[in-house]
C-alpha cells in the first residue's frame, strides 16, 4: 500500500517535471513536504561500463560509481542498494540503450544511475544517466569531458543534476565547510569540501583563531583571531590578498554576514559591554543592533535580512532572542532550559537550530517559528554544539565529543544519519557551512 502511494507520488513528481518544466519550481518541494528522511529512495549505482580499455578505465569504472554513490548518499535522501544483490552487471551485460527495468524494480530500486567511461590520453569522457525504473524513463543524462583528475568534479556536477531533477534544488555539492582545528597546537581555521574531502589550513596565525563566517558570495570569510594578542575581527577575501581588521578595545567576535550584502553583524565590547553592531564589510560601524546591559552575542540573520537572532543574558540566563530590524522589537524565542546559545537560522527561514545545555551537557535543538518544538536532535552522546545549516537547509553540521575529542559531524535537519565528517589531528570546533559557491 505504502509502496503504491510512493509510486503514485513519484509519477506525479515526474509528470509534473516533464509537463511543467520551468513553471513548476514549487512542484519540486515535495521532498521537503514529505519529510524526505523518513523514507529513503532506494537507488542502484552499478559499476560503470568500460568504453575504452586499460588500467585507468578499469579504475575509473569502479571509483567513479563509488564516489557517485557516496556523494548521493551524503544528502540523506537515498538508500544505496548493495551491488551484490544486482541481477545484472551493466559493466558486462547491458548497453545503455537496452536496460531491462524489471531487473532493477525487482530488487527494489526506484532509481538507477548508469555510467560509461572512456579514457584517451589522460582525457576522460564519462556519460551518466539517471533512470526512474518504475516509470522506465530517463530522467537526466549528461556527458562530461575532462582530465582524469577531474573525476570528482564531474561526479559532483552530475549529482547536482540528479538532485536538481528530483528536488528542484541544486544541492550542496559545490559547498565547503570552514572550521577551527588545533592540529598545529594552535587554533587555526581550515576549509574542506562539503563531504570532508581535502581539508586545508587557511590561517597561520600561531595564536587562537575562532568563529569563521562566510559571506553570501562565498568569497569573504570573517573570523576572530588573537594574532595581535587580543580578540580582533578579521575580514578576509579568499581569492585576493585583501583583508580588513576590526581591532577595537575589548572583544571583536562572532561575525555573521548580512544576506547578499557586503555587511556583517558582530559582537564588540569597546563600551565595556558586549553588544551587537552592524558593520560594513570593511569594518566600519553602521549601527548598533542591541541595547542591553550584559551579554549580547552570536548574531544570526534571517535569510531575508529583516530579523536578527542572537543570544542575550537579559533575563538572567543565556537565551535566544529575535529582533525585528524595522520595528526594533525584541522577542524571546527559547523558554526551555537555562542555557541556550549558538543560534543558526535555517536557510528556508522557518527554523532556528541552537545548542541547549541540560545536566551539564550541550545538545542540538531545532525550534520552529510556528511554535513547533523545540525538538532535540542529539541525545546522550557527549557534548554536541555549534550547529550550522547546509545552504539547501537539509543538513546540519555540528561538533560532538561522542568519540572523545571534539570532532565534526553531519546529520539531516531531522537529526537522522549522524556521521563523522572527517578525522584530523587535534580537536575540531565551530564548523560553518558555506553558501553555494559561484563559478566553481
Amino acid at each position: 500500500m505504502r509502496n503504491c502511494w510512493i509510486k503514485i507520488f513519484w509519477l506525479i513528481v515526474i509528470m509534473s517535471f516533464w509537463a511543467l518544466q520551468g513553471v513548476a519550481r514549487a512542484g519540486y518541494d515535495y521532498i521537503d513536504i514529505s519529510h524526505p528522511f523518513l523514507r529513503k529512495i532506494p537507488i542502484a549505482v552499478p559499476l560503470f561500463k568500460k568504453v575504452s580499455s586499460g588500467h585507468e578505465t578499469d579504475q575509473l569504472s569502479k571509483s567513479a560509481p563509488d564516489l557517485l554513490a557516496e556523494t548521493l548518499e551524503f544528502t540523506g535522501y537515498f538508500k544505496l542498494l548493495d551491488r551484490e544483490a544486482f541481477l545484472v552487471n551493466p559493466q558486462t551485460d547491458a548497453a545503455f540503450a537496452s536496460i531491462n527495468f524489471h531487473d532493477w524494480t525487482s530488487i527494489g530500486a526506484e532509481l538507477l544511475v548508469t555510467g560509461g567511461v572512456l579514457v584517451q590520453d589522460n582525457l576522460v569522457e564519462i556519460e551518466l544517466r539517471l533512470y526512474d525504473t518504475f516509470k522506465e524513463q530517463l530522467l537526466v543524462g549528461k556527458r562530461y569531458k575532462g582530465r582524469v583528475e577531474d573525476e570528482r568534479k564531474i561526479i559532483r556536477r552530475f549529482c547536482s543534476e540528479v538532485i536538481y531533477t528530483l528536488t528542484g534544488d541544486r544541492g550542496i555539492f559545490n559547498t565547503k565547510i570552514a572550521f577551527v582545528s588545533t592540529g598545529t597546537g594552535n587554533k587555526e581555521i581550515y576549509i574542506c569540501e562539503f563531504d570532508g574531502y581535502n581539508p586545508r589550513q587557511l590561517t597561520h596565525t600561531k595564536s587562537i583563531t575562532l568563529s569563521p563566517a562566510w559571506a553570501s558570495d562565498g568569497q569573504w570569510l570573517a573570523y576572530t583571531s588573537y594574532a595581535k594578542g587580543k580578540p580582533d575581527l578579521y575580514i578576509k577575501n579568499l581569492r585576493e590578498n585583501r583583508s580588513y581588521v576590526v581591532a577595537k578595545k575589548g572583544i571583536n567576535t562572532t561575525p555573521a554576514w548580512f544576506p547578499n550584502k557586503f555587511e556583517l553583524a558582530a559582537t564588540l565590547s569597546f563600551s565595556d559591554d558586549p553588544e551587537i553592531y552592524l558593520l560594513t564589510g570593511t569594518g566600519k560601524i553602521i549601527k548598533r543592533l542591541t541595547y542591553n546591559k550584559g551579554i549580547d552575542v552570536s548574531p544570526t540573520w534571517s535569510p531575508d535580512g529583516k530579523s536578527v537572532g542572537f543570544v542575550s543574558k537579559r533575563s538572567g540566563t543565556p537565551q535566544i532572542y529575535i529582533k525585528d530590524i524595522d520595528s526594533g522589537q525584541v522577542k524571546r524565542l527559547t523558554f526551555q532550559g537555562r542555557y541556550n546559545t549558538q543560534p543558526s537560522w535555517s536557510p528556508k527561514g522557518d527554523k532556528m537550530a541552537y545548542s541547549g545545555m541540560e545536566n551539564g551537557h550541550n545538545n542540538i535543538f531545532v525550534i520552529g517559528f510556528d511554535g513547533q518544538g523545540p525538538i532535540q536532535l542529539t541525545h546522550n552522546e557527549g557534548d554536541n554544539e555549534s550547529p550550522s545549516w547546509s545552504p539547501d537547509g537539509n543538513l546540519i553540521v555540528f561538533t560532538s565529543t561522542r568519540e572523545g575529542p571534539s570532532r565534526i559531524y553531519v546529520m539531516t535537519s531531522y537529526g537522522t544519519d549522524q556521521r563523522r565528517l572527517l578525522v584530523l589531528k587535534g580537536r575540531q570546533t565551530e564548523p560553518k557551512w558555506s553558501p553555494r559557491m559561484v563559478n566553481k
Binding site: 567576535t253 565595556d272 559591554d273 551579554i295 552575542v297 543565556p318 549558538q342 545545555m357 554544539e385
Partner: protein
C-alpha cells in the same frame, strides 16, 4: 796640655749629650707608636665591627623588604579571583583580593596590569568569550573605583581557551572560572 783638656771637656759634654739625645729620641718614638697605633687599631676594629653590623642589618632589612615586596608581587600575580558558573559578579572574597591588588598597584605606580577573564569549558565558546570579557572588565572597573587609573589597566577575555586545569570536574571548572592579573 791645653788641647787635651778641650777634648776631655768636649767628651764630657758631648758624649752624654749625644747619649741623651739618642735615648730621648728613641724613647719618644717608642712612646708615639705604641699609643697611637693601639688606639687606631681599636677604633678601626670597632668601626669595622659596627659597619659590618650595620651592613648586615641593612642586608637583612633589604632582604626582608625585598622578600615582602616579592611576596606582595607574587601574591598579586598568583592570587586569582574566582566566579560562580555563568556569572561575572564579584564575590566578597574576590573583592577582598582585588583590594589587596589595588594596594599593590598603588605602591607600584609605574606598573601596568592586564586583567585576563577566563571561563570553564562547559558553556559554549562564543558566549564564554563574552562572559570572560564581562569578568575582566568587571574586575577592572572595581580597581578603577579604588583609584587605579584606567590607563594602567587592560581587560582581555580568553573565554574557555586557556584553562589552568584541564580536568572535567567541578574542582577544575571552579579553578578555571577566574580573572588572572599579569604585569607589563
Amino acid at each position: 796640655m791645653q788641647k787635651k783638656l778641650w777634648i776631655i771637656l768636649a767628651l764630657v759634654f758631648i758624649v752624654p749629650g749625644l747619649l741623651f739625645t739618642v735615648s730621648c729620641a728613641k724613647k719618644a718614638v717608642k712612646e708615639d707608636t705604641s699609643l697611637s697605633q693601639q688606639a687606631a687599631d681599636e677604633a678601626a676594629a670597632e668601626k669595622a665591627r659596627q659597619e659590618e653590623l650595620a651592613r648586615q642589618r641593612a642586608i637583612e632589612e633589604a632582604r626582608l623588604k625585598e622578600e615582602a615586596i616579592q611576596k606582595a608581587k607574587d601574591n598579586f600575580l598568583n592570587e586569582d579571583i574566582h566566579f560562580e558558573f555563568d556569572s561575572a559578579v564579584l564575590t566578597p572574597d574576590a573583592q577582598e583580593i582585588l583590594k589587596t591588588k589595588a594596594e599593590w598597584l598603588q605602591n607600584n605606580p609605574n606598573v601596568k596590569s592586564t586583567i585576563e577573564g577566563h571561563c570553564d569549558e562547559r558553556g559554549t565558546l562564543e558566549y564564554n568569550l563574552a562572559l570572560g570579557e564581562r569578568r575582566a572588565s568587571g574586575a577592572k572597573s572595581f580597581l578603577v573605583d579604588l583609584g587605579i587609573p584606567a590607563s594602567r589597566l587592560t581587560a582581555i577575555s580568553y573565554g574557555e581557551e586557556r584553562p589552568v586545569d584541564p580536568g572535567q570536574n567541578e574542582a577544575a571548572w571552579a579553578k578555571n572560572r577566574r580573572c588572572h592579573l599579569t604585569i607589563k
